[in-house]
């Protein structure tokens, strides 16, 4: 017999986790944590409990009572609602007893009492939790023979969402979402008892940027989205998981199609990114891929119009131009709307030929130096500490990042210090929100850092600077200098760059970043001065996106030959000499990089339109005809080459990269160029200083070509303080002339108390008169006069 001495082990045994509890579900022992709900613990061990109102990303309300389970109590088993009952050590849960089954059947019968059985014509039929669970957990019959409740069949509660109150089971998911997640409580339960219904305020629609999520989480067919209504049956849909590239948040989606046509995007829960949510712009712009206006064939300019041409002729024509041009006179703009592979191959082509002029941004972002600071992730930003927002209105530009930061602020995990020209969607959640008129961002940040209270807050925990181009009427150097000031004061601070276009960070990382300071503005200036033989636009539309409209115009006009690769004939493409149709989102495989540097995959779901191809194929073929063998024939070749060429991309060759959460690639830090901040000239009191930001719905090609979204743009306008409006002597909605030395535009004027005195807010790229006519790249700020025209 051997004696075993356990004393050594005991001494080394770690302290038991005070939060660990052990429960039993249907006889299975489950390790859980204090505070966890029974239903969540059961989900982890695949013991399915039926539910309608419970959603893991929202608070529990116990509305539907469907998730009743039996828990052993001192007086025997008792029924509890598993979405409201936390686990407790030693708890014994049963989900399969006759009593539980009876309860489940009873609730289903109750919910179906007033539910119309119009499943054959209901969009949800086939993917409906009520339908599914009526089969799996219902009795199959109802004792209810009376007349069901009737309401007017679907009523629009917004431009995008329809509500059928007869189908609603009052689970509180949509109303909870609107309040807790979106922060737009524009729908609410109204009336009482049998008359309870979800409703908006009269004449105030559910105009949330996130309204489409309510359709996705509705457990019945009560909420339907206008773009998908009666378009397909769920069993006819095919789907592949992908990543949304509408903005650079990189929300995980499934792309669904039927008969080779995109019909719907649905959010997928990626824990580090979107938690299952999407914004309406990202959700509904699949319509743009299906648009009639898509380019289908290569076009060549002849006279004032385009003639259709063949790929071989178009490619030969481009190759001829490039052969005759010196590499120093060729420029590449764009690449931020495609995949990493697209951008990488164009960078490879540029390297092979010797093209140095390249930029994936259009003078509307920040210098790539922003990537040289220690980088944050969305999760690290939301984990705790202080967020310094030196960014555009995230609700307008990166909506799901707004949701994540808002959630962290609402739950008091983070404190937000906002520095912006006007109030934003996060102002209500900010600990400090400071107005900085154009040209003063850096100075305002400096004075904030000197504030004792702010300094104490900053030293209390991690600091993340969320940095983007908040104001397109202010030179980027002001933001950069402000970021620099924060990082100098708090050396441990990290930066989350929030540049807008879907794959802007990817394109910049794989080789389309400007070389030796020659950014888009410098390239366009060179082009305007006749120094560009060939300007290649990779899904770039400088005429719409460059803040200085005049510069863009001169740049496009000055180039001897313009080649545009695009899905639509954008204003810039319309000025091109050769236009190549390229595969859109959903028509090509590849990878994309979000604002954190996270690489995930995007997938092809439908056949590319007409003869269009992926950008990377065009680059490879062009290189070949120029005598440079880039040695790639398949996408896998490109990815292999990218992984071995681009530092940090090695990790993306593994299968991890194409999994849901992707991998965060750390690209080696470029050398930071010393900052020179252009100081703003003092202005006289009759002038207004312009602040220019983007809105979610604008003239961007994917939005403008999606019928459901195209009419949601607010339109060009100028908004000033009510007292300023009085001073100008104009009525709300009337036209005013906004002018400076360069030009003048006539815009309707509106007023808001949230705009500081002396500031004029003008949204960017809206239908109507274009404020960009007043912008000059070299000027640090834009001062204007505003006069009533009557």
């Amino acid at each position: 017999m051997t004696t075993i001495d356990n004393s050594a082990d005991v001494a080394e045994m770690p302290e038991p986790d005070p939060n660990a509890v052990s429960i039993t579900i249907n006889g299975k022992t489950v390790a859980a944590r204090k505070g966890e709900l029974i239903i969540a613990a059961a989900d982890r061990v695949d013991e399915y409990i039926p539910r309608f109102c419970y959603h893991p990303r929202m608070s529990s309300v116990g509305m539907c009572r469907q998730c009743l389970v039996e828990v052993e109590g001192p007086r025997g088993p008792m029924m509890v609602v598993s979405c409201m009952t936390p686990v407790a050590d030693g708890q014994v849960v049963r989900t399969d007893t006759p009593q539980v089954k009876r309860a489940h059947e009873g609730i289903i019968e109750l919910l179906l009492a007033n539910h119309p059985l119009d499943c054959p014509v209901c969009d949800k039929g086939g993917e409906c939790p009520l339908q599914d669970q009526a089969f799996s957990h219902g009795a199959g019959e109802s004792r209810f023979v009376e007349e069901k409740r009737h309401y007017e069949k679907p009523i629009p509660i917004s431009d995008l969402v329809f509500l059928d109150r007869e189908r609603c089971i009052l689970c509180d998911r949509c109303t909870r979402f609107a309040d807790e997640v979106a922060g737009d409580p524009l729908i609410s339960f109204t009336q009482r008892g049998n008359n309870t219904q979800v409703m908006t305020f009269p004449d105030e629609p559910f105009a949330s940027y996130f309204s489409g999520n309510t359709v996705q989480i509705c457990p019945v067919g009560a909420l339907t989205a206008q773009p998908y209504r009666f378009k397909a049956r769920p069993w006819d849909l095919e789907q592949r998981e992908s990543t949304c590239t509408t903005c650079s948040v990189g929300c995980r989606t499934v792309v669904q199609s039927s008969r080779d046509e995109l019909l719907r995007y649905q959010g997928v829960d990626s824990d580090p990114v979107n938690w299952g949510w999407l914004c309406d712009r990202g959700r509904f712009n699949f319509q743009s891929v299906n648009s009639e206006d898509r380019l289908e064939h290569p076009l060549v300019k002849s006279g004032d119009s385009f003639a259709q041409t063949s790929w071989s002729e178009a490619m030969e024509s481009i190759a001829r131009t490039l052969r005759h041009a010196s590499p120093g006179s060729v420029a590449i703009l764009g690449g931020a709307r495609g995949t990493n592979e697209d951008a990488f191959m164009w960078a490879q082509l540029a390297d092979a030929v010797g093209i140095t002029m390249r930029d994936a941004q259009l003078d509307d972002g920040l210098p790539t130096d922003i990537f040289s600071y220690p980088q944050a992730t969305i999760d690290s930003a939301c984990a705790g500490g202080t967020i310094i927002l030196l960014a555009p209105d995230l609700k307008e530009e990166l909506p799901v990042l707004h949701i994540r930061l808002r959630d962290a602020a609402e739950k008091k995990r983070i404190r937000i210090i906002e520095v912006s020209a006007t109030e934003s969607g996060l102002t209500k959640n900010a600990w400090r929100s400071v107005r900085a008129e154009s040209g003063t961002t850096s100075a305002v940040v400096q004075s904030l850092l000197a504030d004792a209270q702010v300094a104490a807050q900053l030293s209390s925990g991690p600091v993340v600077v969320v940095a983007g181009r908040g104001n397109l009427a202010e030179s980027a150097s002001h933001t950069m200098s402000a970021v620099d000031a924060v990082v100098s004061a708090v050396p441990s601070a990290t930066v989350l760059p929030v540049l807008r276009r879907g794959n802007v960070r990817g394109a910049l990382s794989v080789g389309l970043a400007p070389r030796s300071g020659a950014d888009a503005a410098a390239i366009l200036e060179a082009s305007a001065n006749g120094r560009v033989e060939c300007l290649i636009l990779l899904g770039a539309d400088p005429l719409s996106d460059v803040p200085d409209a005049d510069l863009a115009r001169r740049g496009i006009a000055g180039a001897k030959c313009v080649v545009a690769l695009d899905t639509f004939l954008t204003p810039s493409a319309a000025h091109a000499d050769i236009v190549l149709p390229v595969a859109a989102y959903g028509e090509k495989d590849g990878t994309t990089m979000n604002l954190e540097g996270r690489v995930t995959n995007v997938v092809q779901k439908i056949t590319a339109r007409g003869t269009s191809r992926a950008d990377w194929m065009i680059a490879a073929e062009l290189a070949d005809s120029l005598g440079h063998d880039l040695a790639v024939t398949t996408l896998a070749d490109v990815q292999k080459k990218m992984a071995s060429t681009v530092p940090g991309f090695g990790a993306t060759t593994t299968s991890v990269a194409i999994k849901r959460d992707g991998v965060v690639v750390s690209v080696s830090s470029p050398v930071r160029t010393p900052l020179s901040v252009a100081s703003a000239a003092p202005r006289n009191s009759y002038e207004f200083r312009v602040a220019m930001g983007r809105k979610l719905y604008d003239k961007a090609v994917g939005t403008a070509t999606s019928p459901a979204l195209s009419n949601l743009a607010s339109g060009a306008r100028v908004t000033i303080h009510p007292l300023d409006l009085e001073r100008v002597g104009a009525a709300v909605g009337s036209n005013v002339r906004v002018s400076n030395a360069h030009s003048s535009v006539v815009l309707p004027v509106f007023s808001s108390e949230s705009v500081p005195r002396g500031t004029a807010i003008v949204p960017f790229n809206q239908p109507g008169a274009d404020i960009r006519e007043l912008v000059r790249h070299g000027e640090s700020v834009i001062d204007v006069r505003i006069e009533s025209v009557s």
């Binding site: 737009d184 409580p185 524009l186 729908i187 609410s188 339960f189 109204t190 009336q191 009482r192 409703m199 908006t200 305020f201 009269p202 004449d203 105030e204």
Partner: protein, 204 residues
Amino acid sequence: MARLNEDNVRLAREIIGRYPKPRSATIPLLHLAQEQDGYVTNEAMAHIGELVGATSAEVYGTASFYEMFKFEPVGKYLINICGTMSCALMGAEELMHHAEERLGIHMGGTTPDGMFTLERAECQAACTEAPCLQVNYRYRFRVTPQNFDDLVNQLSSGQLTEEIPQHGTLTVTRQHIPADRGVGAVDPELVTEGPAWLDGKAAL
């Protein structure tokens, strides 16, 4: 007639000041709106939302839960006749028929001169005094058709103006709590002492 008038905005701010969180004042402000206009207008709900920091939809959601908030104009006098068991046994049906004939309107309707609205009500907790009714929530007990006619005549001729203010007015004399007695805008969790008006007595 729409948003809260200037006097009522001042009062609204005072009421909001009594609560730790502004939106706790939603229901008192809805009463204020109903007192001003006789019913709760959409504009008033939007205004209340602005004052307490809620959306119009949230104010409407709260308001529409309660039977006593009206969203359509009602008469100066809202007459609720109880139709529940005790009153029904003691002649409520006959009383309702009589009322409809006397005023020339159906239950739920309002007289063309805007004086009276008739409603059928559930139990008003005065079963020993059946049949009963309420005029702007002021009781009338053991009402006979003759009593009803007298009541209508008295209301029409203004004899009861003192006793029964027009619909929407909860109390003739408004209670004013001095500002120094309010808790103010503090987190409810941080309130450890009883309210000042308890004069040092324990809260519970």
